[in-house]
């Protein structure tokens, strides 16, 4: 007999698979990207069922909230002709199939390892906050790899900025900092000068 939790799991995984399929089959790139968002959501839901709430929320926060937004940005602005992209389908099929099978075999091998048969967290450590546990392990057992990863990310950020930081000579862009710094007295000069002579009406004939 299935429990309510299992029912939720099946719903989530069904939607996950369906949205995953729609990512690779949909004709419109924006729809594909949005299906990917849906897939991420359902994956996060499944993680929530596994009581990995930190990871689930981080998935939503990072992938859905930031990465996919940038993806959509690019995809929306491009005028992609999908039919052209699809042309070489049969040529690429053997290579793609090989890679797919390879990945599947690898995944099965990973699933066979001991780490995948651990009891759920709530049984081993009742009342444990997910976030705290992850924080503790990250900053004690795995502090070196963690710091290394952060350095790698920093390098990536710096190099990405360096790559895009090219000033064109003919660029007419303004510096907002300078503009904001301008005060009234930098631009306006008050001048003292004599007011004009009073206007004297020239003598004219009486209006008829």
């Amino acid at each position: 007999m299935i429990e309510f939790k299992d029912f939720v799991f099946f719903v989530l995984s069904l939607v996950l698979i369906a949205s995953g399929l729609s990512v690779i089959t949909s004709r419109n790139p924006v729809t594909a990207a949005l299906s990917l968002v849906l897939a991420f959501f359902n994956a996060a839901g499944i993680w929530l069922l596994l009581q990995a709430e930190f990871l689930a929320i981080a998935l939503v926060l990072v992938y859905v909230g930031a990465v996919m937004v940038l993806f959509l940005f690019v995809v929306m602005m491009l005028d992609i002709n999908l039919d052209k992209l699809r042309e070489g389908f049969w040529d690429y099929l053997p290579m793609a199939g090989f890679i797919g099978i390879l990945m599947m075999v690898e995944m099965v091998m990973v699933f066979k390892t001991k780490q995948f048969n651990l009891p759920p967290l709530s049984e081993t450590l009742p009342n444990a906050s997910n976030t705290e546990l992850i924080g503790n392990t990250l900053y004690s057992d795995y502090v070196l790899p963690f710091e290394l990863a952060s350095v790698v990310l920093l390098i990536a950020i710096v190099s990405a900025i360096a790559l895009t930081l090219r000033d064109r000579k003919d660029s007419k862009k303004t510096n907002p900092a300078d503009q904001i710094a301008v005060k009234r007295k930098d631009r306006v000069r008050l001048v003292q000068m004599k007011s004009e002579e009073k206007y004297v009406k020239p003598k004219a004939k009486e209006r008829t």
Partner: protein, 343 residues
């Protein structure tokens, strides 16, 4: 068949009852929220009117108190126009995606010590995740409308929301450093014992930055370039009319209430009373939220709209460095003998 039914209800019965109970709680939160959203629009029109030496709406009902209801009725009866060559599914999905996260985030908001729908450990993270999803409504609306103005507005707004989320996230890091918890209830209880224990004081720059980023997150003036009536004719929701437009409107105001609520909970001690011998109550939270909302409207009545590059400069070059510097400062101070000041 009967056996199956009984076994299903035997197993699922408690779950169904629980689900029903949760639904009831959701209604108890969402209904007052909708009403407060409606009256926030009235409040905004009145306050802005007063600041512009006008008296605001005063025709429908006493002091115009029925105005929001009249507006809602009007919007309900208006036709929803579908632009040609728009993506029909996404066009109607966009307002839903805009309002769903704005309401979903309320699941973890505590109104009192035990008055919360879902008391989860990582509630702060959950709220961050929900507010980061809100951008999809805007992006999809802009793209699905098949209009240049809408698309430009949505691009502007998406870039703005993503940028300011970083500054906002950093300010929350400061809060959880002080509170040692991601749970909103625990964060509030960490500020117990009079207004001098509130996190505003050790985190004052972060509070200011949080609030300004919140204004930018919710696309309110002076950061409302996503709408920019004068440049891109209302931006991402140009093509929306009737109830579809009203839903965007609701989402904006629900988000405003949400971020004010968060500011009140994280920095201003939530439902705790400012003076120890006055009892804590939900009313304090209401007062704090109302004041913050008043500030939102006050900003709108005071400041002219930012230029877009200046918004980006403010977010990336000023807010993020200041927040990082202050987090490092707090972290350092916590190691010294003055550390107790920051907890």
């Amino acid at each position: 068949m009967d056996a199956l039914m009984t076994s299903v209800f035997g197993l699922w019965g408690p779950s169904i009852a629980k689900t029903f109970w949760i639904l009831l709680k959701i209604v108890a939160v969402v209904l007052p929220l909708m009403i407060s959203v409606a009256y926030l629009t009235y409040f905004e029109r009145k306050v802005i009117g007063f600041m512009q030496v006008r008296i605001g709406p005063n025709r429908v009902g006493y002091f115009g108190l029925l105005q929001p209801i009249a507006d809602a009725l009007k919007l309900l009866f208006k036709e929803i126009i579908l632009p040609t060559a728009s993506n029909k599914v996404l066009f109607f999905l966009a307002p839903v995606l805009a309002i769903a996260p704005a309401f979903a985030a309320w699941a973890v908001i505590p109104f009192d010590l035990n008055l919360v729908i879902a008391d989860i450990d990582a509630s702060l993270l959950y709220i961050l995740a929900m507010t980061s999803i809100a951008v999809y409504g805007v992006i999809i609306a802009g793209w699905a409308s098949n209009s240049k103005y809408a698309f430009l507005g949505s691009l502007r707004s998406a870039a703005q929301i993503v940028s300011y989320e970083i500054a906002m996230g950093f300010t929350l890091v400061g809060v959880l450093m002080c509170a040692n918890s991601l749970n909103l209830g625990k964060i509030v209880m960490g500020q117990a014992g009079g207004f001098w224990h509130w996190y505003v004081w050790p985190l004052f720059p972060l509070f200011i930055i949080y609030f300004i980023s919140a204004v930018a997150e919710t696309n309110r003036a002076p950061f409302d370039v996503a709408e920019g009536e004068s440049e891109i004719v209302a931006g991402f929701h140009v093509e929306y009319s009737g109830m579809a437009f009203a839903v965007f409107f609701l989402a904006e105001y629900a988000n405003m209430i949400l971020v004010s609520m968060l500011a009140a909970l994280m920095f201003l001690g939530g439902w705790l009373s400012p003076i120890p011998f006055i009892p804590d109550s939900f009313l304090w939270l209401l007062i704090k939220v109302a004041f913050l909302l008043f500030c939102f409207i006050w900003f709108r009545a005071t400041f002219p709209r930012y230029r877009y590059d200046q918004i980006m400069r403010l977010g990336w070059k000023i807010f993020i460095p200041i927040t990082i510097a202050w987090i490092v400062f707090i972290g350092g101070m916590m190691q010294t003998s003055w550390g107790y000041l920051f907890h």
